[in-house]
Subunit: 251 residues, 2 copies
Protein backbone atom coordinates (compact mmCIF):
# COMPACT_ATOMS: atom_id res chain seq x y z
CA UNK A 1 0.00 0.00 0.00
CA UNK A 2 2.39 2.71 -1.18
CA UNK A 3 1.79 6.38 -0.51
CA UNK A 4 0.19 5.99 2.92
CA UNK A 5 2.76 7.08 5.43
CA UNK A 6 0.64 7.65 8.49
CA UNK A 7 -2.53 6.85 10.37
CA UNK A 8 -4.89 9.89 10.54
CA UNK A 9 -5.07 10.87 14.22
CA UNK A 10 -7.95 13.26 13.45
CA UNK A 11 -10.09 10.23 12.45
CA UNK A 12 -9.79 8.55 15.85
CA UNK A 13 -12.89 10.29 17.23
CA UNK A 14 -15.11 9.07 14.42
CA UNK A 15 -13.40 5.61 14.46
CA UNK A 16 -14.89 4.52 11.10
CA UNK A 17 -14.47 1.04 9.52
CA UNK A 18 -12.09 2.67 6.99
CA UNK A 19 -9.86 3.88 9.83
CA UNK A 20 -9.97 0.42 11.45
CA UNK A 21 -9.02 -1.20 8.15
CA UNK A 22 -6.06 1.19 7.77
CA UNK A 23 -5.05 0.39 11.36
CA UNK A 24 -5.00 -3.30 10.38
CA UNK A 25 -2.50 -2.52 7.59
CA UNK A 26 -0.23 -0.62 10.00
CA UNK A 27 -0.45 -3.43 12.55
CA UNK A 28 0.49 -5.99 9.91
CA UNK A 29 3.43 -3.83 8.85
CA UNK A 30 4.55 -3.45 12.48
CA UNK A 31 4.38 -7.23 12.98
CA UNK A 32 6.56 -7.69 9.87
CA UNK A 33 9.08 -5.12 11.16
CA UNK A 34 9.15 -6.83 14.58
CA UNK A 35 9.77 -10.23 13.06
CA UNK A 36 12.53 -8.90 10.76
CA UNK A 37 14.20 -6.98 13.59
CA UNK A 38 14.08 -10.04 15.83
CA UNK A 39 15.99 -12.04 13.20
CA UNK A 40 18.52 -9.25 12.69
CA UNK A 41 18.89 -8.94 16.47
CA UNK A 42 19.67 -12.66 16.74
CA UNK A 43 22.23 -12.54 13.91
CA UNK A 44 23.93 -9.52 15.49
CA UNK A 45 23.96 -11.21 18.90
CA UNK A 46 25.67 -14.20 17.25
CA UNK A 47 28.33 -11.91 15.74
CA UNK A 48 28.85 -10.24 19.10
CA UNK A 49 29.13 -13.51 21.04
CA UNK A 50 31.51 -15.03 18.45
CA UNK A 51 33.67 -11.88 18.56
CA UNK A 52 33.71 -12.05 22.35
CA UNK A 53 34.65 -15.73 22.33
CA UNK A 54 37.40 -15.02 19.77
CA UNK A 55 38.77 -12.29 22.00
CA UNK A 56 38.76 -14.60 25.05
CA UNK A 57 40.31 -17.55 23.18
CA UNK A 58 43.04 -15.32 21.73
CA UNK A 59 43.82 -13.94 25.18
CA UNK A 60 43.92 -17.49 26.61
CA UNK A 61 46.40 -18.59 23.91
CA UNK A 62 48.65 -15.63 24.68
CA UNK A 63 48.47 -16.46 28.40
CA UNK A 64 49.43 -20.10 27.73
CA UNK A 65 52.46 -18.99 25.70
CA UNK A 66 53.52 -16.66 28.51
CA UNK A 67 53.30 -19.61 30.91
CA UNK A 68 55.74 -21.69 28.84
CA UNK A 69 58.58 -20.24 30.91
CA UNK A 70 57.17 -21.52 34.20
CA UNK A 71 56.27 -25.02 32.91
CA UNK A 72 58.25 -27.83 34.52
CA UNK A 73 60.14 -29.41 31.63
CA UNK A 74 62.90 -31.62 33.15
CA UNK A 75 64.94 -31.36 29.90
CA UNK A 76 65.08 -27.63 29.46
CA UNK A 77 68.61 -27.50 27.95
CA UNK A 78 69.20 -24.75 25.39
CA UNK A 79 65.66 -23.53 25.73
CA UNK A 80 66.31 -19.79 26.08
CA UNK A 81 65.79 -19.06 22.38
CA UNK A 82 62.56 -21.05 22.41
CA UNK A 83 61.40 -19.30 25.60
CA UNK A 84 62.08 -15.81 24.29
CA UNK A 85 60.44 -16.65 20.93
CA UNK A 86 57.29 -17.86 22.66
CA UNK A 87 57.31 -14.76 24.88
CA UNK A 88 57.42 -12.65 21.73
CA UNK A 89 54.53 -14.60 20.21
CA UNK A 90 52.63 -14.17 23.48
CA UNK A 91 53.16 -10.40 23.37
CA UNK A 92 52.03 -10.02 19.74
CA UNK A 93 49.00 -12.31 20.22
CA UNK A 94 48.09 -10.38 23.37
CA UNK A 95 48.15 -7.13 21.35
CA UNK A 96 45.84 -8.78 18.83
CA UNK A 97 43.51 -9.95 21.60
CA UNK A 98 43.37 -6.31 22.81
CA UNK A 99 42.27 -5.22 19.32
CA UNK A 100 39.61 -7.96 19.46
CA UNK A 101 38.47 -6.77 22.89
CA UNK A 102 38.14 -3.17 21.61
CA UNK A 103 36.09 -4.48 18.67
CA UNK A 104 33.86 -6.47 21.06
CA UNK A 105 33.18 -3.41 23.19
CA UNK A 106 32.41 -1.25 20.15
CA UNK A 107 30.04 -3.90 18.80
CA UNK A 108 28.27 -4.05 22.17
CA UNK A 109 27.86 -0.25 22.33
CA UNK A 110 27.19 0.67 18.71
CA UNK A 111 25.46 -2.43 17.31
CA UNK A 112 23.87 -4.61 20.03
CA UNK A 113 22.77 -1.72 22.26
CA UNK A 114 20.70 0.28 19.71
CA UNK A 115 18.95 -2.76 18.23
CA UNK A 116 18.20 -4.09 21.74
CA UNK A 117 16.77 -0.69 22.70
CA UNK A 118 14.53 -0.67 19.63
CA UNK A 119 13.34 -4.21 20.37
CA UNK A 120 12.91 -3.86 24.14
CA UNK A 121 11.66 -0.28 24.26
CA UNK A 122 9.98 0.81 21.00
CA UNK A 123 8.51 -2.50 19.85
CA UNK A 124 7.40 -3.46 23.38
CA UNK A 125 5.76 -0.03 23.78
CA UNK A 126 3.64 -0.71 20.68
CA UNK A 127 2.50 -4.05 22.12
CA UNK A 128 1.58 -2.41 25.43
CA UNK A 129 -0.35 0.39 23.69
CA UNK A 130 -2.15 -2.17 21.53
CA UNK A 131 -3.24 -4.05 24.64
CA UNK A 132 -4.36 -0.87 26.43
CA UNK A 133 -6.30 0.18 23.31
CA UNK A 134 -8.00 -3.23 23.06
CA UNK A 135 -9.02 -3.14 26.74
CA UNK A 136 -10.53 0.35 26.38
CA UNK A 137 -12.28 -0.73 23.14
CA UNK A 138 -13.84 -3.69 24.95
CA UNK A 139 -14.92 -1.48 27.86
CA UNK A 140 -16.52 0.89 25.36
CA UNK A 141 -18.31 -2.01 23.62
CA UNK A 142 -19.69 -3.22 26.97
CA UNK A 143 -20.94 0.29 27.80
CA UNK A 144 -22.62 0.65 24.38
CA UNK A 145 -24.22 -2.77 24.84
CA UNK A 146 -25.65 -1.81 28.25
CA UNK A 147 -26.91 1.46 26.76
CA UNK A 148 -28.68 -0.25 23.83
CA UNK A 149 -30.52 -2.71 26.15
CA UNK A 150 -31.35 0.18 28.45
CA UNK A 151 -33.33 2.11 25.86
CA UNK A 152 -35.74 -0.83 25.29
CA UNK A 153 -36.73 -1.28 28.96
CA UNK A 154 -37.98 1.64 31.00
CA UNK A 155 -35.37 2.07 33.71
CA UNK A 156 -35.27 4.84 36.24
CA UNK A 157 -33.44 8.08 35.52
CA UNK A 158 -30.60 7.33 37.98
CA UNK A 159 -29.61 4.10 36.15
CA UNK A 160 -29.99 5.79 32.75
CA UNK A 161 -27.71 8.64 33.72
CA UNK A 162 -25.12 6.17 35.16
CA UNK A 163 -25.05 4.15 31.93
CA UNK A 164 -24.73 7.27 29.77
CA UNK A 165 -21.91 8.55 31.98
CA UNK A 166 -20.21 5.17 31.48
CA UNK A 167 -20.58 5.41 27.67
CA UNK A 168 -19.10 8.91 27.77
CA UNK A 169 -16.04 8.08 29.90
CA UNK A 170 -15.31 4.81 28.06
CA UNK A 171 -15.52 6.53 24.67
CA UNK A 172 -13.19 9.27 25.93
CA UNK A 173 -10.76 6.65 27.22
CA UNK A 174 -10.92 4.72 23.95
CA UNK A 175 -10.32 7.88 21.95
CA UNK A 176 -7.28 8.78 24.03
CA UNK A 177 -5.70 5.31 23.89
CA UNK A 178 -6.38 5.14 20.13
CA UNK A 179 -4.59 8.46 19.61
CA UNK A 180 -1.63 7.21 21.60
CA UNK A 181 -1.56 3.94 19.71
CA UNK A 182 -1.81 5.70 16.31
CA UNK A 183 0.98 8.12 17.24
CA UNK A 184 3.26 5.23 18.29
CA UNK A 185 2.52 3.32 15.05
CA UNK A 186 3.25 6.45 12.97
CA UNK A 187 6.46 7.14 14.87
CA UNK A 188 7.58 3.55 14.31
CA UNK A 189 7.45 4.11 10.53
CA UNK A 190 10.19 6.74 10.94
CA UNK A 191 12.08 4.96 13.71
CA UNK A 192 12.34 1.66 11.81
CA UNK A 193 14.80 3.14 9.30
CA UNK A 194 17.05 4.49 12.04
CA UNK A 195 16.59 1.25 13.98
CA UNK A 196 17.93 -0.76 11.04
CA UNK A 197 20.67 1.63 9.91
CA UNK A 198 22.12 2.66 13.27
CA UNK A 199 23.40 -0.81 14.37
CA UNK A 200 24.74 -1.44 10.84
CA UNK A 201 26.64 1.85 10.87
CA UNK A 202 27.97 0.93 14.33
CA UNK A 203 29.05 -2.47 13.06
CA UNK A 204 30.86 -1.03 10.03
CA UNK A 205 32.57 1.71 12.01
CA UNK A 206 33.79 -0.85 14.57
CA UNK A 207 35.16 -3.07 11.77
CA UNK A 208 36.94 -0.14 10.10
CA UNK A 209 38.53 0.83 13.43
CA UNK A 210 39.60 -2.77 13.97
CA UNK A 211 41.28 -3.02 10.57
CA UNK A 212 42.97 0.36 11.05
CA UNK A 213 44.23 -0.59 14.51
CA UNK A 214 45.39 -3.97 13.27
CA UNK A 215 47.07 -2.91 10.05
CA UNK A 216 48.65 0.36 11.22
CA UNK A 217 50.07 -0.71 14.56
CA UNK A 218 50.60 -4.41 14.24
CA UNK A 219 51.22 -5.74 10.76
CA UNK A 220 54.66 -4.21 10.07
CA UNK A 221 55.82 -5.13 13.56
CA UNK A 222 54.55 -8.68 13.05
CA UNK A 223 56.21 -9.11 9.70
CA UNK A 224 59.60 -8.08 11.12
CA UNK A 225 59.10 -10.55 13.92
CA UNK A 226 58.05 -13.35 11.55
CA UNK A 227 61.12 -12.74 9.38
CA UNK A 228 63.32 -13.12 12.45
CA UNK A 229 61.42 -16.16 13.64
CA UNK A 230 61.64 -17.69 10.16
CA UNK A 231 65.43 -17.97 10.53
CA UNK A 232 65.07 -19.57 13.93
CA UNK A 233 62.54 -22.13 12.69
CA UNK A 234 64.72 -22.90 9.66
CA UNK A 235 67.56 -23.66 12.11
CA UNK A 236 65.23 -25.95 14.08
CA UNK A 237 64.17 -27.83 10.97
CA UNK A 238 67.78 -28.15 9.77
CA UNK A 239 68.80 -29.45 13.20
CA UNK A 240 65.86 -31.87 13.12
CA UNK A 241 66.71 -33.14 9.65
CA UNK A 242 70.35 -33.66 10.66
CA UNK A 243 69.07 -35.67 13.61
CA UNK A 244 66.90 -37.81 11.34
CA UNK A 245 69.86 -38.48 9.00
CA UNK A 246 72.03 -39.35 12.02
CA UNK A 247 69.43 -41.81 13.33
CA UNK A 248 68.96 -43.40 9.93
CA UNK A 249 72.70 -44.04 9.65
CA UNK A 250 72.69 -45.47 13.20
CA UNK A 251 70.21 -48.22 12.33
CA UNK B 1 68.66 -31.31 33.67
CA UNK B 2 70.40 -29.04 31.14
CA UNK B 3 73.00 -30.30 28.71
CA UNK B 4 71.43 -33.72 28.11
CA UNK B 5 69.80 -33.57 24.72
CA UNK B 6 69.36 -37.23 23.94
CA UNK B 7 69.03 -40.74 25.25
CA UNK B 8 72.10 -42.89 24.39
CA UNK B 9 70.89 -45.57 21.98
CA UNK B 10 74.21 -47.38 22.32
CA UNK B 11 73.40 -48.01 26.02
CA UNK B 12 70.16 -49.88 25.27
CA UNK B 13 71.92 -53.25 25.07
CA UNK B 14 73.48 -52.93 28.52
CA UNK B 15 70.22 -51.35 29.92
CA UNK B 16 71.86 -50.11 33.14
CA UNK B 17 70.01 -48.43 36.06
CA UNK B 18 71.63 -45.14 34.95
CA UNK B 19 70.07 -45.51 31.49
CA UNK B 20 66.70 -46.34 33.06
CA UNK B 21 66.93 -43.28 35.30
CA UNK B 22 67.71 -41.08 32.29
CA UNK B 23 64.74 -42.65 30.47
CA UNK B 24 62.58 -41.61 33.43
CA UNK B 25 63.66 -37.98 32.95
CA UNK B 26 62.82 -38.09 29.23
CA UNK B 27 59.45 -39.69 29.97
CA UNK B 28 58.65 -36.98 32.51
CA UNK B 29 59.65 -34.31 29.99
CA UNK B 30 57.48 -35.95 27.31
CA UNK B 31 54.51 -36.02 29.68
CA UNK B 32 55.00 -32.29 30.37
CA UNK B 33 55.19 -31.54 26.62
CA UNK B 34 52.02 -33.60 26.01
CA UNK B 35 50.12 -31.78 28.72
CA UNK B 36 51.28 -28.35 27.49
CA UNK B 37 50.47 -29.18 23.86
CA UNK B 38 47.03 -30.45 24.85
CA UNK B 39 46.27 -27.08 26.48
CA UNK B 40 47.58 -25.16 23.48
CA UNK B 41 45.58 -27.43 21.16
CA UNK B 42 42.38 -26.66 23.09
CA UNK B 43 43.04 -22.89 23.04
CA UNK B 44 43.73 -23.01 19.29
CA UNK B 45 40.58 -25.07 18.70
CA UNK B 46 38.63 -22.40 20.59
CA UNK B 47 40.10 -19.67 18.37
CA UNK B 48 39.27 -21.69 15.27
CA UNK B 49 35.68 -22.44 16.32
CA UNK B 50 35.07 -18.81 17.32
CA UNK B 51 36.47 -17.62 13.98
CA UNK B 52 34.25 -20.10 12.16
CA UNK B 53 31.19 -19.00 14.12
CA UNK B 54 32.05 -15.34 13.41
CA UNK B 55 32.31 -16.10 9.71
CA UNK B 56 28.93 -17.91 9.73
CA UNK B 57 27.16 -15.20 11.78
CA UNK B 58 28.54 -12.45 9.51
CA UNK B 59 27.36 -14.32 6.43
CA UNK B 60 23.91 -14.83 8.01
CA UNK B 61 23.62 -11.10 8.75
CA UNK B 62 24.48 -10.25 5.16
CA UNK B 63 21.91 -12.80 3.95
CA UNK B 64 19.21 -11.25 6.17
CA UNK B 65 19.95 -7.78 4.78
CA UNK B 66 19.72 -9.14 1.22
CA UNK B 67 16.31 -10.60 2.11
CA UNK B 68 14.93 -7.20 3.20
CA UNK B 69 13.76 -6.66 -0.39
CA UNK B 70 11.59 -9.76 -0.40
CA UNK B 71 10.05 -9.20 3.06
CA UNK B 72 6.32 -8.56 3.03
CA UNK B 73 5.97 -5.05 4.49
CA UNK B 74 2.41 -3.82 3.67
CA UNK B 75 3.55 -0.16 4.02
CA UNK B 76 6.49 -0.12 1.69
CA UNK B 77 6.03 3.45 0.40
CA UNK B 78 9.24 5.33 -0.46
CA UNK B 79 11.36 2.36 0.52
CA UNK B 80 13.67 2.25 -2.52
CA UNK B 81 16.42 4.27 -0.85
CA UNK B 82 16.24 2.06 2.23
CA UNK B 83 16.25 -1.10 0.11
CA UNK B 84 19.28 -0.07 -1.93
CA UNK B 85 21.14 1.05 1.22
CA UNK B 86 20.55 -2.30 2.90
CA UNK B 87 21.62 -4.08 -0.31
CA UNK B 88 24.86 -2.12 -0.18
CA UNK B 89 25.38 -3.04 3.49
CA UNK B 90 24.65 -6.67 2.58
CA UNK B 91 27.31 -6.59 -0.14
CA UNK B 92 30.01 -5.04 2.05
CA UNK B 93 29.24 -7.36 5.00
CA UNK B 94 29.31 -10.32 2.62
CA UNK B 95 32.79 -9.29 1.45
CA UNK B 96 33.84 -9.12 5.08
CA UNK B 97 32.39 -12.57 5.73
CA UNK B 98 34.45 -13.86 2.79
CA UNK B 99 37.59 -12.46 4.43
CA UNK B 100 36.54 -14.23 7.64
CA UNK B 101 35.98 -17.48 5.74
CA UNK B 102 39.48 -17.24 4.18
CA UNK B 103 40.93 -16.66 7.66
CA UNK B 104 39.01 -19.68 9.00
CA UNK B 105 40.37 -21.93 6.26
CA UNK B 106 43.93 -20.70 6.76
CA UNK B 107 43.65 -21.27 10.52
CA UNK B 108 42.38 -24.81 9.88
CA UNK B 109 45.25 -25.62 7.50
CA UNK B 110 48.18 -23.78 9.07
CA UNK B 111 47.33 -23.83 12.79
CA UNK B 112 44.86 -26.57 13.75
CA UNK B 113 46.19 -29.18 11.30
CA UNK B 114 49.89 -29.20 12.39
CA UNK B 115 49.14 -29.19 16.12
CA UNK B 116 46.52 -31.95 15.65
CA UNK B 117 49.06 -34.00 13.68
CA UNK B 118 51.64 -33.61 16.44
CA UNK B 119 49.09 -34.63 19.08
CA UNK B 120 47.45 -37.48 17.18
CA UNK B 121 50.52 -38.86 15.42
CA UNK B 122 53.77 -38.03 17.22
CA UNK B 123 52.56 -38.00 20.82
CA UNK B 124 50.37 -41.09 20.29
CA UNK B 125 53.30 -42.91 18.68
CA UNK B 126 55.36 -42.32 21.85
CA UNK B 127 52.57 -43.81 23.97
CA UNK B 128 52.34 -46.87 21.70
CA UNK B 129 56.11 -47.40 21.72
CA UNK B 130 56.15 -47.04 25.51
CA UNK B 131 53.50 -49.75 25.78
CA UNK B 132 55.29 -52.07 23.36
CA UNK B 133 58.54 -51.52 25.25
CA UNK B 134 56.86 -52.30 28.60
CA UNK B 135 55.33 -55.51 27.25
CA UNK B 136 58.68 -56.69 25.87
CA UNK B 137 60.37 -55.72 29.17
CA UNK B 138 57.85 -57.78 31.11
CA UNK B 139 58.31 -60.74 28.73
CA UNK B 140 62.04 -60.46 29.26
CA UNK B 141 61.62 -60.35 33.06
CA UNK B 142 59.46 -63.48 32.93
CA UNK B 143 62.07 -65.27 30.80
CA UNK B 144 64.90 -64.24 33.19
CA UNK B 145 62.80 -65.43 36.12
CA UNK B 146 62.23 -68.83 34.54
CA UNK B 147 65.93 -69.02 33.75
CA UNK B 148 67.00 -68.21 37.33
CA UNK B 149 64.68 -70.89 38.79
CA UNK B 150 65.87 -73.31 36.15
CA UNK B 151 69.49 -73.17 37.23
CA UNK B 152 68.60 -74.23 40.81
CA UNK B 153 66.67 -77.33 39.75
CA UNK B 154 68.16 -79.92 37.46
CA UNK B 155 65.92 -79.85 34.38
CA UNK B 156 66.57 -81.74 31.22
CA UNK B 157 68.59 -80.26 28.39
CA UNK B 158 65.54 -79.72 26.14
CA UNK B 159 63.77 -77.49 28.67
CA UNK B 160 67.03 -75.67 29.48
CA UNK B 161 67.67 -74.94 25.83
CA UNK B 162 64.04 -73.76 25.37
CA UNK B 163 64.31 -71.35 28.32
CA UNK B 164 67.65 -69.98 27.13
CA UNK B 165 66.22 -69.51 23.64
CA UNK B 166 63.35 -67.63 25.27
CA UNK B 167 65.76 -65.39 27.21
CA UNK B 168 67.67 -64.69 24.01
CA UNK B 169 64.65 -63.80 21.85
CA UNK B 170 62.95 -61.74 24.57
CA UNK B 171 66.13 -59.78 25.26
CA UNK B 172 66.55 -59.18 21.53
CA UNK B 173 62.94 -58.01 21.33
CA UNK B 174 63.36 -55.78 24.37
CA UNK B 175 66.55 -54.29 22.93
CA UNK B 176 64.83 -53.51 19.64
CA UNK B 177 61.75 -51.94 21.21
CA UNK B 178 63.95 -49.93 23.58
CA UNK B 179 65.97 -48.58 20.63
CA UNK B 180 62.75 -47.59 18.88
CA UNK B 181 61.38 -45.98 22.00
CA UNK B 182 64.64 -44.06 22.66
CA UNK B 183 64.77 -42.86 19.05
CA UNK B 184 61.21 -41.61 19.24
CA UNK B 185 61.85 -39.81 22.55
CA UNK B 186 65.01 -38.19 21.11
CA UNK B 187 63.18 -37.16 17.95
CA UNK B 188 60.42 -35.61 20.05
CA UNK B 189 62.96 -33.24 21.63
CA UNK B 190 63.56 -31.76 18.17
CA UNK B 191 60.01 -32.04 16.96
CA UNK B 192 58.52 -30.27 19.96
CA UNK B 193 60.02 -26.93 18.91
CA UNK B 194 58.62 -27.22 15.41
CA UNK B 195 55.34 -28.52 16.86
CA UNK B 196 54.96 -25.36 18.96
CA UNK B 197 56.27 -22.84 16.43
CA UNK B 198 54.60 -24.12 13.25
CA UNK B 199 50.95 -23.53 14.32
CA UNK B 200 51.89 -20.13 15.79
CA UNK B 201 53.55 -19.08 12.53
CA UNK B 202 50.47 -20.33 10.68
CA UNK B 203 48.24 -18.33 13.01
CA UNK B 204 50.26 -15.12 12.58
CA UNK B 205 50.51 -15.46 8.82
CA UNK B 206 46.73 -16.00 8.57
CA UNK B 207 46.10 -12.90 10.70
CA UNK B 208 48.48 -10.77 8.61
CA UNK B 209 46.76 -11.93 5.42
CA UNK B 210 43.38 -11.12 6.96
CA UNK B 211 44.40 -7.57 7.91
CA UNK B 212 45.96 -7.00 4.50
CA UNK B 213 42.88 -8.28 2.70
CA UNK B 214 40.62 -6.24 4.95
CA UNK B 215 42.50 -2.97 4.92
CA UNK B 216 43.63 -2.93 1.29
CA UNK B 217 40.43 -4.00 -0.45
CA UNK B 218 37.70 -2.98 1.89
CA UNK B 219 38.40 -0.08 4.18
CA UNK B 220 38.55 2.77 1.61
CA UNK B 221 35.51 1.37 -0.16
CA UNK B 222 33.67 1.16 3.16
CA UNK B 223 34.51 4.67 4.20
CA UNK B 224 33.17 6.11 0.95
CA UNK B 225 30.00 4.11 1.46
CA UNK B 226 29.64 5.22 5.08
CA UNK B 227 30.06 8.87 4.07
CA UNK B 228 27.22 8.46 1.57
CA UNK B 229 25.08 6.59 4.04
CA UNK B 230 25.74 9.23 6.68
CA UNK B 231 23.86 11.80 4.58
CA UNK B 232 20.95 9.42 4.12
CA UNK B 233 20.72 8.67 7.85
CA UNK B 234 20.93 12.37 8.67
CA UNK B 235 17.94 12.87 6.37
CA UNK B 236 16.07 10.08 8.18
CA UNK B 237 16.77 11.61 11.58
CA UNK B 238 15.74 15.10 10.38
CA UNK B 239 12.53 13.64 8.95
CA UNK B 240 11.93 11.81 12.24
CA UNK B 241 12.52 14.93 14.35
CA UNK B 242 10.14 16.95 12.14
CA UNK B 243 7.56 14.23 12.71
CA UNK B 244 8.06 14.42 16.49
CA UNK B 245 7.66 18.22 16.44
CA UNK B 246 4.53 17.85 14.28
CA UNK B 247 3.01 15.33 16.71
CA UNK B 248 3.87 17.46 19.73
CA UNK B 249 2.06 20.44 18.20
CA UNK B 250 -0.92 18.18 17.35
CA UNK B 251 -1.54 17.27 21.03
Amino acid sequence: MPGIDKLPIEETLEDSPQTRSLLGVFEEDTAAISSYCQQLFQAMQRIYHAQNELSTATHLTSKLLKEYEIQHFPLRGDDEVMSSTLQHFAKVIDELSSCHAVLSTQLADAMVFPITQFKERDLKEILTLKEVFQISSNDHDVAINRYSRLSKRRDNEKVKSEVMEDVYTSRKKQHQTMMHYFTALNTLQYKKKIALLEPLLGYMQAQINFFKLGSENLTQQWEDFLTNIGTSVQKCIKHYNMHIVYNDTCY
